[in-house]
Symmetry: C4
Subunit: 176 residues, 4 copies
């Protein structure tokens, strides 16, 4: 599997990060991968996501990347996120080991709950093997949430592969 | 007639699919085709659509592609779809044989009706020649509907040909 | 002055047309033109518009292009258009001969007024020289208006030149 | 540091300007710059902004560029701007000398306050060194604000670097 341009390319990396007292939250789009079918056309192999990264604070505007925890928002979870009205809340559950021997051992839940100015975005990670339970909570202001909503809405068609499939030029790149 | 880049290209294919108990619903954008006029400029030949595909369930997460039914949402029907408010409903009627000898023999109707969390999207196909009547209903959650609304809104200018006509680069491709 | 790609190119043409009983209404984006400054950078020379074309009906789905009337929506008028709420109305006045000897002789007014399902879009052209007064009214449904709103919103940054100025590639094309 | 296409390019310049009785307000997107990391990928070096320029009126539709004042809206301030509801207001404070010897000597504040048709956008610049205090107020109509909201929303992913990172083609340009 390869990128829409037909090769594994050196990528441009851009995130949106919010640094708060107890933790930092970063969001970055992950593009889908594509593969060629026997009939000669290119199709989405693995859909993209919005990758959320939480890092705990370890001092004045310093955050511990060693202790980071990830949560990949799927296309439909992004749909939930961008359609949240004021006062709405939502919660998503992921099992990173689903379909494997360790299914159910690690549980991640992401919750978005309203507060006075914006939302609390919290990640809870329970690991039954390591007997650990980590929790990150980042208060996101209305303005920061508006940036995330706009950026996630923009990224959505790219994550789904629709931006690539509707772009007449992307295709010719697949032939290189 | 050819694509905006001046040739019939191998395409990238990406859909958005919802798998539910009784049926699966997939949506994918269909781009317009273009043709050259005598005066030398390129114009839309056939407008694009959002192609909806319904397939009946035939087991645990298995769907029968042999029995699929299609419904191509036109530009104005997409306008109706993306402007649906909470609690709104709409219905579209297509005759795949319109303007032919078999006009009126096959009738397709697509209805979108609100439920507690989202909409029921139903396709009804009545075939007077084969004496058949098929009905598919897929419950679409609010989050899934938000994905469709965002993806259809993104695709709309590409389906209308406006993304191609406003893209300064697309044009030079028409000269190859 | 030239296009964003540095040449006067053969263009792709795509409109959105609504055919009604008494008149047809077509909308199409008009891109800005660019010119090179002495300091070597490229700037917008003439801003773009959404060109509205009205043609009177002269039979069953036949419209008279000889008697067409044009109205070019400016960037700010497009802002008015796309922010119209349900039940809102607006009106724009143009003088095609402004700043010339014939200023005030021809007056065009475009009005958008709500009706049960959508809006009435009317163009009134008063020509004091020819002693004529023409009026076109096209009922636009909510779904058709949603298409126009989405298409005009998409086209707006292209019409303003922002799509060209934020596209890192458009620029290199100017060097051919 | 360089542009997303791997070089410092001659740029296309496009703004949106509002000319009013006492002052003119112009807005233009400023793209981020990128740099190559040791690991070989490209990342955002300095995030972009929407640059607002205020110029005082010095006659009939004449404005004094010598006396212009700038205010660069950050990504999160743009989020605030585009999510302003009718009747909402907001205010941002910048110190152009923050982290330097002159910190606190110059203070800029931008306020957006509702009026009957739209908003008053005001910039206040207090310079303790020069003992000056300048104030610009530009009434922005609802239609003009709708243009700004749409244009700022369009520009946001470009300013954040997400448009560049999700564009499969932008990357290969970095290799020239």
């Amino acid at each position: 599997s390869y990128g829409a341009d037909g090769r594994i390319s050196s990528r441009i990396f851009a995130d949106y990060s919010i640094f708060k007292g107890k933790a930092a939250l970063s969001a970055t789009p992950v593009l889908p991968t594509f593969s060629k079918t026997d009939s000669g056309y290119t199709k989405v192999d693995r859909r993209g996501a919005i990758m959320l990264t939480f890092r705990p604070a370890i001092g004045e505007r310093k955050y511990d990347s060693e202790k980071k925890q990830l949560f990949a928002l799927s296309v439909t979870e992004i749909g939930s996120f961008i359609s949240l009205g004021p006062g709405d809340s939502c919660e998503f559950y992921h099992d990173p080991s689903v379909m494997s021997r360790d299914a159910g051992q690690v549980r991640k839940s992401l919750s978005i709950k309203p507060h006075t100015d914006g939302y609390f975005v919290s990640l809870n990670v329970t690991n039954n093997i390591l007997k650990t339970n980590e929790r990150f909570t980042v208060p996101v202001t209305t303005a920061e949430f508006a940036v995330m909503r706009a950026a996630f809405s923009f990224a959505l068609p790219h994550i789904m592969g629709w931006a690539q499939s509707t772009n007449p030029q992307a295709d010719s790149f697949g032939k290189d």
